[in-house]
């Protein structure tokens, strides 16, 4: 080691020098082994060799750039003018050879070598390849100011040092890869934890994009969510892409995110400005390359994410894609969760508002009937502020001794199923209030957690109904007694006029006959009117009683036909009867059915002249149908509409021309309803009318027992 002998003290014994070298090599070994990363290894190699005992003064470690073939300086000693990360280009310099063949190369005199890149004016250089797992990754360059400075011992020492460094680098790279994977996992875990702990959508989206930027080491990016209604993407978070893109809408297939949303596959765009698919909305953005991915839950699109590099030196590679593919599903789930949560929040808010603003008093109880919450309407209806009501047993609060049992019954039942009723409850001030009560169980996730009570103040309603009922009852009472009072003198008028008619016939005084007939007819009309009014008032008062019996239809029809025959003759009409073979029996009020048929038939006779009136009767298992058809004057649609309204005979002129009270049809229809049936009408002006009575053959609902009379 010529240069060492030159630099080391000459008096030092060879033995002592050897011991110092051993110690220095041990320190070098220890330092390399202790180095935590590649950089530390390079440093410890050059620093350890630059030891007084070893005497290497000018040295550096280069790493091979696998893409360019350049050697890049990692650490050096004694080259003060050389920049850090100095690049020696492929094909240049003496150390090229060692990198090429993986062998140690010694140049005893650098001045003789054209390839030498001078750092020293003269001297010798030793190039030792740095190999990791059989592959040359760099070179250790050692120089001396003097020619022929190195010998076998140097070769040995330096070769051993690079070997050890190679092993250490291999291990460090492995560790680095491990650490990187660990970091990735941690980053992903952090992302997941962060994202899943955050439920406010805007914050989740911001976190998603920040994480993506950190994880991928990109310049910036943006996140969009998919709007199902419009089938568009809406950018909701944007980070350093050169503008705030929040709010931008993209159609399916538009731009990078629109493209991945349509294909449902990730996409790398190495050179964005050359890409044909770019959206005009991003024309003002200076990005170099883009990587985008759909955000999917299963195959369902929830959004898209795009990350960008604005540095032309950075390009997205498969590793970035792998990371994005790891990240995207987490982001998708986080966004979806936040979206669902937000929707649930909104729903909750909506219902809260509904309950708060409801005019109906609403109170919720727990399983032991204690008040959990109540709304302002409850507070004002019962006079208990929520603070005072909470925790109290509801029935103790608003039921009296008299209503306690009934109230508790409602409460108990409402825990299982909805109950509905009307009752009286007590206010805080002791006054009573009539309420409509609805109790419903509150079930959350199939679990019964309590019940909800709704109280609707119906005091006014009930009072109004009582008033109306009283008024109506008084009216009906009045009408009934009036009708009775009117009938007695009327009977006398009709009776005596009839008697007089009989007498003038016997006494042969025909000149009186006409006037007496007029008195009699007017009297009968008045009686008819009174009877109809009485019927109607009874129906309206709910006091019309049905006398149900099961009777054969045939004789009833015969009776009706006999009764109506004189009326048919009067306007020279012809009566046609069509009846089914076996009409059987009908369960109904015989008197009323007869009255209904007579009403319809007498109407038909009245409004038909020289025509045909057809009475049909038919039945099936369930129904009996009577039809009265005439070929009379008929009605317009407008007239038909008002037909079944009380006192609405087509017009006043009709009444005076055709007579009648105009109440017959109303009563007929009401009778039909009472018996569980209906009356329908069809008519054409000038052509005639058809009225149909349909009645349930076995009586109205709720009356299905066989006839006893």
């Amino acid at each position: 080691m010529p240069h060492r002998s030159r630099t080391g003290p000459r008096t030092t014994s060879a033995r002592s020098a050897a011991a110092h070298r051993q110690a220095a090599l041990l320190r070098l070994s220890t330092a390399i082994a202790a180095a935590q990363d590649e950089e530390a290894i390079y440093r410890s190699v050059v620093n350890g060799l630059h030891d007084e005992a070893l005497g290497y003064n000018f040295l550096g470690v280069f790493l091979l750039d696998s893409e360019t073939g350049d050697r890049v300086l990692q650490a050096s000693v004694g080259w003060p003018d050389v920049p850090t990360e100095w690049r020696v280009h492929r094909g240049e310099g003496l150390s090229e050879q060692a990198v090429q063949d993986g062998k140690l190369h010694y140049t005893p005199d650098v001045t003789r070598e054209s390839k030498y890149l001078p750092s020293l004016a003269s001297g010798s250089e030793l190039d030792v390849p740095l190999r990791v797992n059989g592959r040359t990754i760099g070179v250790l360059v050692v120089e001396s100011a003097e020619p022929n400075a190195f010998g076998d011992e140097d070769f040995e020492i330096l070769q051993a040092a690079t070997n050890q460094a190679g092993i250490a680098i291999a291990r460090a790279r492995l560790l680095e890869a491990e650490r990187r994977r660990a970091d990735e996992h941690k980053a992903l875990l952090d992302t997941m934890a962060d994202l899943s702990s955050e439920l406010e959508l805007s914050r989740v989206l911001q976190a998603v994009i920040e994480r993506a930027v950190t994880l991928l080491g990109v310049t910036g990016g943006e996140v969009a969510i998919y709007e199902e209604e419009t089938r568009e993407l809406v950018v909701v978070a944007s980070e350093r892409i050169g503008k705030d893109s929040t709010g931008t809408r993209l159609k399916m297939g538009e731009g990078a995110m629109g493209t991945v949303a349509r294909t449902l596959e990730p996409l790398i765009i190495p050179s964005y400005h050359e890409w044909l698919g770019q959206s005009a909305k991003y024309a003002d953005v200076l990005v170099h390359s883009v990587m985008a991915a759909p955000l999917l839950i299963g195959r369902r699109l929830v959004g898209a994410i795009a990350t960008v590099h604005s540095d032309p030196a950075r390009v997205f590679n498969q590793e970035d894609l792998r990371l994005l593919n790891l990240f995207a599903p987490q982001a998708a789930v986080a966004i979806e969760n936040a979206r669902l949560y937000t929707a649930a929040q909104r729903q909750r808010q909506y219902f809260r508002e509904l309950v708060r603003n409801s005019p109906v008093a609403i109170v919720t109880l727990n399983q032991v009937y204690r008040v959990v919450e109540c709304n302002p309407a409850f507070e004002s209806l019962f006079g208990y502020p929520q603070a005072e009501a909470v925790g109290r047993n509801l029935d103790e609060l608003i039921a009296t001794d008299a209503t306690r049992e009934e109230a508790e019954q409602y409460t108990r039942e409402a825990l299982d199923r909805p109950v509905h009723g009307i009752g009286r409850r007590k206010r805080k001030d002791g006054t009573m209030v009539d309420v409509e009560i609805l109790g419903v169980p509150v079930i959350v996730d199939d679990e019964r957690v309590g019940l909800m009570g709704l109280y609707h103040d119906i005091s006014e309603l009930l009072q109004a109904r009582r008033d109306a009922e009283a008024a109506n009852s008084a009216k009906s009472q009045f009408l009934a007694s009036m009708s009775h009072e009117l009938r007695t003198p009327l009977n006398a008028i009709i009776g005596y006029s009839e008697m007089l008619q009989e007498e003038v016939e016997e006494l042969r005084q025909p000149q009186l006959q006409d006037d007496l007939t007029k008195i009699n007819t007017a009297g009968r009309h008045l009686l008819e009117l009174i009877n109809d009014i009485l019927d109607l008032s009874k129906i309206e008062a709910g006091k019309m009683q049905l006398h149900l019996e099961t009777f054969p239809i045939e004789p009833m029809l015969e009776d009706v036909i006999t009764t109506v025959r004189p009326l048919v003759m009067k306007n020279a009409n012809h009566l046609e009867v069509r009846r089914a073979d076996r009409l059987g029996t009908l369960r109904a009020d015989l008197t009323k059915v007869r009255q209904m048929l007579l009403n319809l038939l007498s109407n038909a006779c009245k409004f038909t002249d020289h025509g045909t009136i057809t009475l049909s009767a038919d039945r099936d298992d369930q129904h009996v149908v009577f039809t009265v058809r005439d070929s009379g004057i008929g009605m317009t649609a407008e007239q038909m509409e008002r037909l079944f309204e009380a006192f609405a005979q087509a017009d006043a002129a009709t009444t005076s021309k055709y007579g009648g009270t105009g109440l017959g049809l109303v009563i007929t229809k009401r009778f039909a309803h009472l018996m569980g049936g209906d009356v329908q009408v069809m008519s054409t002006p000038g052509k005639g009318s058809t009225f149909t009575i349909e009645l349930p053959a076995r009586g109205p609902d709720g009356d299905r027992e066989p006839a006893t009379d």
């Binding site: 009327l490 009977n491 006398a492 005596y496 008697m499 007498e503 016997e506 006398h547 009020d589």
Partner: protein, 123 residues
Amino acid sequence: MARILLVEDNEMNRDMLSRRLQRKGYEITMAVDGREGVDKARTGGFDLILMDMSLPEIDGWEATRQLRAVPETEHTPIIALTAHAMAGDREKALEAGCDDYDTKPIELPRLLEKIETLLRRDA
């Protein structure tokens, strides 16, 4: 000549009906309430009784039941006269023992037919 007892509280109705029936050739005896009606019927040996249902003292239904319970009038035809077709009046009348019924205001031909039918049945 058939003898008919007319039980009717209303004076005008009684007057009218009795005069019209007399003109048709019947011999009419009148009673003004249920009790008088029952008394007269048991002793009078009438061929037929026209019985108003809403009568003072005892009503037409009760009077009919009483008449049916005694041998003298057990089989005497009774026609109930009811007010305007009140639901159930007819059934109540038949149940009490009346043979037929007619509604007021009286349609004389209709009533005469019923009277004649019952008189023929008993003849």
